[in-house]
Assembly symmetry: C2
């Protein structure tokens, strides 16, 4: 399965666990609101700096987000 789709799912899950709307996450990460929606839907591909910005806004580590994506990849294979 495409890591992009799984990243979107993990991001949505972490955002909801943090009790944030897409708008609040975008504001906290300093990015465009619709960009969060595009990433969550697996349409836009986040680059390295974006991953760091999103992780900081969610209060987690970038490696932790990717670790969860890897776990979902394993489950889906």
């Amino acid at each position: 399965m495409d890591p992009l789709v799984l990243f979107g799912r993990v991001l949505r899950q972490l955002r909801k666990e943090a009790g944030l709307t897409q708008e609040q996450l975008a504001l906290a990460a300093g990015i465009e609101r619709n960009y969060v929606s595009l990433i969550e839907r697996g349409i836009n591909q986040p680059a390295l700096r974006m991953i760091f910005k999103l992780a900081a806004a969610l209060g987690t580590a970038p490696s932790e987000i990717l670790r969860q994506v890897e776990a979902e990849l394993k489950d889906s294979s």
Copy 2:
């Protein structure tokens, strides 16, 4: 410090530990040779799928590469 620069350093270190040239890593990851050089020099920013391709070619996990970047970030702050 910019995670991009640190990612380049960690990538170079992991590539050397794996005993690969830039060309060999690029071939294994299915990407352009000069792209490895551009990332290692902190010039090009890898996106999510590229991070997964590079990790697979190095036989490590994407989250492990980012964990090492985070450790360097901590050391540099």
